[in-house]
């Protein structure tokens, strides 16, 4: 079970994921300022250490530099979060989610076709 993270923490995770799962502190700083965040240095350190505490990041000291490595991949995180969403809103039924997506036209016809094919293939294999 992956612990819940705040939006700002997720922002940091995205940067780490985007740089191949490992990023130096300085790199994170840089990406943040590129993305237009003007957070204080200590704020970022606090957020990073929270992520470490929650088990999403691992920290590694290289000389005087701090390197952060993602323990959880972006895909795993997404899957986990989807599961949380499913459990919370659809009582574990993926069907319900899909139907909501279709009803709200958040899923195009092509997407649906693709999904269907994927599902049938899965069934065949069983």
């Amino acid at each position: 079970m992956i612990q819940q993270v705040s939006n700002s923490e997720l922002e940091l995770m995205k940067i780490v994921w985007a740089s191949g799962g490992t990023a130096l502190y300085a790199h994170i700083m840089e990406e943040l300022s590129k993305a237009g965040f003007t957070w204080q240095k200590n704020t970022i350190i606090t957020l990073l250490s929270r992520l470490v505490e929650k088990g999403l990041l691992k920290t590694n000291k290289i000389g005087r530099r701090n390197e952060y490595t993602a323990v959880v991949s972006e895909e795993d995180y997404q899957a986990e979060q989807t599961q949380v969403l499913l459990n919370k809103l659809y009582e574990g039924s993926a069907k319900g989610l899909v139907s909501t997506l279709i009803q709200r036209e958040m899923l195009t016809a092509e997407d649906y076709e693709e999904l269907k094919q994927f599902w049938e293939r899965k069934g065949e294999r069983k």
């Binding site: 502190y25 700083m29 840089e30």
Partner: protein
């Protein structure tokens, strides 16, 4: 009475005296002296209550010395000392002048000291009276054996009847004390733990970036390096700081006006910066150990108040009139339910009315805030010093068994009173010298300090082994007793003895031996022997004279020793220089016109003149000492020499004597920078002012001298910038690599599409750092080719010979 109790009671009584002084003087200093002083001054009392060290002679020692035979007396003392009528004191004191023996002289000195101080502070009348009572009573008891019909006499008589039973109780009384202290401490710790658990369970991380930034910004302003965690917990009534090892701030909620949050954070951070949590625990431990003493409990309460007041004062200091008003408002809003405390410890709960009263005091203090003037600051410094001295003098009673050795300064005395000085000042020279020695830790070596003849004679006996390091700390006048040389042929001296420039006067040597009999691999230096009595040696003309070391069994270093012969001998040996270095005598150079050393001059000059010698011998610490007494031009000369010789260690030692930011530092910084001597420059950064560092940093950045930049950024504490610069540098280099066909995928390097096994880049020819990456899966070995200026020319496969050469080193 058991030894443990003796110490505890004496510490408690001693601390109580200080507590009383502080409480009684409070009306005087309360509104005049800074709140921070009023807060930290209690540390003196806490130290007195916790540290069982004291000078050899002190009030408590005198008090407990003889009176301690019966605890009945002592307890009587404790109660009587506080409520004795003034008139009785005078009686006791007048008796004292005629009756007191040697031992109580010390306590008398301490007493005068204290009464003098109390009077000087303009204390209330009853203050010194109460205080005097304790001391007066003590002397009364000391001399009580001589004064008939005093209370103590009667008491001990009464005690005698039930002595068997009381004795037993007294024997185990210390267990009761220990049990009480342990119980209380455990209770406090477990209550604290459950409190922490309670806080932890309901806390939530603050994820509001605005608030986190506010915290980070305030930390930046207050130069707090370590970021604190910020939580909210709806269960707490007011903001608090908690966690001794990982401190964090806990807010009741975040739905407060920004102003309130700002002041709250500032307030809690000041608690953090004041080390208030540590302080509180220290006080709690003190209270636990002195649980039987109501004054200590009172002190615990008082420090809690003082803590908040000191914190408020620090906040107010940085605010203007309007800001202070706003801060007061914040406080008022926050304290509605309790108080803006740093960890309101759940053990001693604060009742509402009390906290209301404290709030009133705090608000009053904030409103009346004014900067403390210079003279007042000076005065508060003096007062602190006086109290500290008072703390040292009231002292503690040592365990009976330790008493003898303690007299000689066997106990370390962290109050910084060297044993000898106190001994001489307090009780005169007649005190029997004791052979136990204090020790001094210097750079990992334990030196035994030699102050007197007994200690000198103790070398080679008991724990003062022949392999230890000794350092003389005073001139020593020897008695006429025959000297037993240190070390024999069978058991030679193998340690070190540093005479430290002090003299040993009148060493009487019966045998034709020296101060040291035999030594191996020893280190004997800086000894001065005056009036060395070699009567017999002189007559046996055949035998050479070895005043310092008679026989070296090999490997010893004996130098810088000086021997002054007694006058009658000098007149016997015509034309002899009065000072002959022992080294000459040892080597048998018995000339009448031996070269004179500067030994006759003051020690400082002598050392200075030896700077050259120390430098040649590589004797770093001695050189450092010598350097410190040199005049400015000599210092410049030496710095120049050292710099030219590239002796970095000597450079570092010498710089310790140079003022930070002095022009000399600037001069060498310039030089080292231009010469590219990064090591020297790095040493210099420790002595540069912030401005200097910054201007050098600008220059180094401009000129792309990255190694200097990294040293400077480290010195400036701008580590983050350093990391960023390194990062940038790495990126640049990777780009350069790419240009010559080396690419990077994750952590794997490729050269023209082939996975690289060994990757070598000698960044700068002749420099010791280079890049070497290895990947066992790789198939090719590649090196970067650079020109003389370090510019990358290209990449090439490494030949087998080159690979071999590379690993030949490893």
């Amino acid at each position: 009475m058991s030894d443990v109790l003796r110490i505890v009671f004496s510490l408690s009584l001693s601390g109580t005296l200080l507590i009383l002084v502080l409480f009684l003087c409070k009306p005087v200093y309360k509104n005049r002296i800074s709140k921070r002083w009023q807060y930290y001054i209690w540390l003196v009392v806490v130290a007195r209550l916790l540290l069982p060290f004291a000078p050899r002679e002190n009030l408590m020692e005198a008090l407990f010395d003889r009176a301690g035979q019966s605890a009945g007396n002592t307890i009587e003392q404790l109660s009587r000392s506080t409520d004795q009528a003034e008139g009785e004191n005078i009686d006791a004191n007048s008796g004292q002048t005629s009756e007191i023996g040697m031992a109580s002289e010390g306590s008398e000195a301490a007493l005068t000291e204290q009464t003098g101080r109390s009077a000087g502070q303009g204390e209330k009348e009853d203050g010194p009276a109460d205080f005097y009572a304790a001391g007066g009573d003590a002397n009364d008891l000391n001399t009580g054996h001589a004064i008939s019909g005093t209370d103590s006499g009667v008491d001990s008589g009464a005690d005698g009847a039930t002595s068997g039973f009381t004795e037993k109780i007294l024997q185990y009384l210390w267990l009761i004390w220990l049990g009480g202290a342990a119980l209380l401490l455990i209770r406090k710790v477990t209550m604290y733990q459950s409190f922490v658990k309670y806080i932890r369970a309901g806390r939530e991380e603050v994820s509001d970036i605005k608030l986190l930034d506010l915290l980070a910004e305030t930390e930046g302003q207050m130069e707090i390096k370590r970021p604190l965690e910020l939580y909210t917990n709806k269960l707490v009534s007011s903001p608090l700081l908690i966690g001794l090892f990982r401190p964090c701030i806990i807010l009741p909620g975040t739905d407060l006006p920004e102003e309130d949050l700002r002041y709250t954070i500032r307030h809690e951070l000041i608690h953090y910066r004041h080390f208030d949590l540590l302080y509180k625990w220290l006080v709690q431990i003190t209270v636990c150990l002195h649980w039987f003493n109501p004054f200590v409990w009172l002190m615990g309460k008082e420090t809690g108040r003082a803590c908040e007041l000191a914190c408020d004062e620090t906040v107010a200091q940085e605010l203007d009139e309007e800001g202070r008003r706003a801060y007061g408002d914040t406080l008022l809003r926050a304290i509605k339910n309790g108080g803006m405390d740093c960890f309101r410890e759940p053990v001693v709960s604060v009742t509402l009315s009390e906290s209301g009263e404290l709030l009133k005091e705090r608000l009053g203090a904030i409103a009346d805030f004014r900067k403390v003037s210079k003279p007042v600051r000076a005065l508060s410094f003096v007062m602190a010093a006086v109290l500290l001295l008072g703390g040292v003098m009231t002292g503690a009673a040592a365990p009976v068994s330790e008493n003898l050795s303690k007299k000689g300064g066997g106990n370390a005395m962290p109050e910084g009173v060297p044993g000898k000085d106190v001994g001489d000042a307090m009780s005169g020279k007649d005190i029997i010298e004791d052979a136990s020695m204090e020790t001094l830790e210097l750079k990992g070596t334990t030196y035994y300090l030699v102050f007197n003849e007994s200690q000198l004679r103790a070398i080679g006996t008991g724990k003062y082994g022949l392999d230890k390091d000794y350092m003389q700390q005073a001139d020593i006048q020897m008695s006429a007793d025959e000297w037993e040389p240190i070390g024999t042929m069978e058991e030679p001296f193998t340690g070190s003895y540093n005479g430290n420039g002090y003299e040993i006067i009148g060493l009487t040597d019966a045998e034709p031996a020296g101060m040291f009999g035999a030594a191996r691999d020893a280190h004997i230096y800086n000894i001065t022997l005056r009036d060395y009595n070699i009567e017999r040696n002189k007559n046996s003309a055949e035998q050479p004279d070895f005043p310092i070391l008679a026989c070296d069994l090999g490997g010893s270093r004996v130098y810088d020793n000086t021997v002054y012969l007694p006058d009658e001998i000098i007149t016997g040996v015509q034309g002899t220089d009065r000072a002959r270095t022992a080294d000459e005598i040892i080597t048998g150079v018995q000339g009448t016109d031996s070269t004179q050393t500067a030994a006759a001059g003051p020690a400082a000059q002598e050392i200075a003149s030896r700077a050259g010698e120390y430098y040649e011998n590589g004797n770093l610490p001695e050189f450092g000492r010598a350097f410190s007494v040199l005049d400015e031009s000599s210092q410049k000369f030496w710095l120049e020499t050292i710099y030219a010789d590239e002796k970095i260690a000597f450079f570092s030692v010498s710089l310790q004597q140079i003022e930070t930011g002095s022009p000399l530092i600037g001069y060498y910084a310039q030089k080292a920078y231009e010469d590219g001597r990064i090591a020297f420059f790095s040493v210099l950064t420790d002595y540069m002012s912030k401005d200097m560092l910054e201007s050098w940093q600008d220059q180094a950045a401009e000129e792309g001298k990255f190694n200097f930049e990294s040293v400077l950024l480290t010195a400036l504490g701008r580590d983050w910038e350093l990391e960023a610069r390194q990062e940038e540098k790495n990126r640049q280099r990777e780009e350069e690599y790419r240009n010559v066909g080396i690419t990077m995928n994750g952590k794997l390097r490729y050269y023209q599409g082939q996975l690289v096994n060994i990757f070598l880049d000698m960044s700068q020819p002749g420099k010791s750092f280079y890049t070497l990456d290895m990947n066992p899966d790789g198939v090719v070995n590649v090196k970067i080719i650079r020109d003389e200026n370090g510019k990358i020319q290209g990449a090439a496969y490494m030949t087998d010979a080159e690979v071999k050469e590379l690993f030949g080193d490893i």
